[in-house]
Symmetry: C2
Subunit: 219 residues, 2 copies
């Protein structure tokens, strides 16, 4: 009885969220703003990857970042040093970004004037998969220290993403991470996924990822 | 209106969970079974830490592990090689262990015959903080590659735990992780928390953690 009730409520919440996500998606299409929802575990390197990406693209395109965190503005403060627009959303106990939160952040950052906005979702490999933000593209970052078996253990994340970045490849030998095995696991779940192994710290492999981002932007 | 409704429902769910957790806690007290709820991000080293702990204690105490994962039995398979009892719970999209799940797992593993049971919660630094499992003790593992700022960004986890393990300290210089700064952040949130910096891989620092576990067990 209890289970049934929870499921019904969850259906209502996600249905309402899906409607709002569709509204967001239409708005972004109208203004030619490309929005990338970046998801990962805590500490996988979302902010460092965004920093490298922003520094490579900020002179050619108008960029913005919407940061979601339970608490603190550590990441927003880091990103704002690049000189681009940043909005911080604090969620308290909230474990994912909703379409309503994304919409609010996008209005606040004045998305119509921007070519590309990153949503840095809350560090969580599970809950964000149930909530469409309305972003144009969903990507995830898996970092080497987390282990090459993570696609087996958290399949919904890897099934829904257009891109998987494997970050911290400079630490691959230290952590005995098998990149080929990881790619093989993820391709079984999602044959179309694009995989970019890179190190946001050293810059190795970052160009291929940045080229992919640029290929999506309207010149 | 929508927000209010969600909050009300959440209150019902957590109230029901709290009641069930209390039932679990009473049962564990009656049977002198110590249960440790182990929480962390994906890939922080829960399973490796448990392996070391089990191997150190399995000849002196009767042990068991309850594994919760969205999918796969990778961890249960690893732990079962130690020869102790393991139960695997698969949650699908479920992002945390509930008291009902813990209760079911404890019954299945025949907790009354055991001195110590580990609940290896789902890899998630957020949602498990809202759901009391009924465990005797809550602990979390933060691994060095995640960064020393994580207590600032995910405060509820560090506030609720009796112990924080800082794992993968053998990688501290590689990742520029400041152990003192991390401990200072967490002590501001939770002055009573016990901190064990260790490497489950090399065994460095593991003895202090194992001594703490043993101090909790009825001889």
């Amino acid at each position: 009885m209890e289970t049934y009730r929870i499921i019904e409520i969850k259906k209502n919440i996600t249905e309402n969220n899906d409607k709002r996500a569709q509204v967001v998606r239409e708005k972004l299409k109208d203004s030619n703003t490309f929005v990338i929802n970046v998801m990962s575990s805590p500490g996988s390197g979302k902010t460092t990857t965004l920093l490298q990406t922003i520094n490579a693209l900020k002179d050619k395109y108008k960029l913005g970042v919407i940061e979601a965190d339970l608490d603190s503005d550590v990441d927003a403060s880091t990103i704002s040093k690049t000189g681009i627009k940043v909005v911080q959303l604090n969620t308290g106990h909230g474990c994912h970004m909703t379409a309503a939160m994304a919409d609010e952040g996008l209005e606040d950052i004045n998305y119509k004037d921007l070519d590309l906005v990153f949503l840095e979702n809350i560090g969580n490999l599970i809950c964000p998969t149930s909530f469409d933000t309305g972003a144009t593209s969903n990507i995830c970052i898996l970092s080497v220290p987390e282990g090459d078996d993570k696609p087996l253990k958290y399949p919904p994340m890897f099934e829904m993403c257009e891109v998987m970045i494997i970050n911290k490849i400079d630490a691959a030998s230290f952590f005995d991470f098998d990149i080929d095995k990881c790619i093989s696991h993820v391709k079984k779940l999602n044959p179309e996924i694009k995989v970019f192994p890179l190190s946001a710290k050293t810059g190795e492999g970052i160009q291929e990822w940045i080229q992919w981002v640029e290929s999506k932007l309207v010149k």
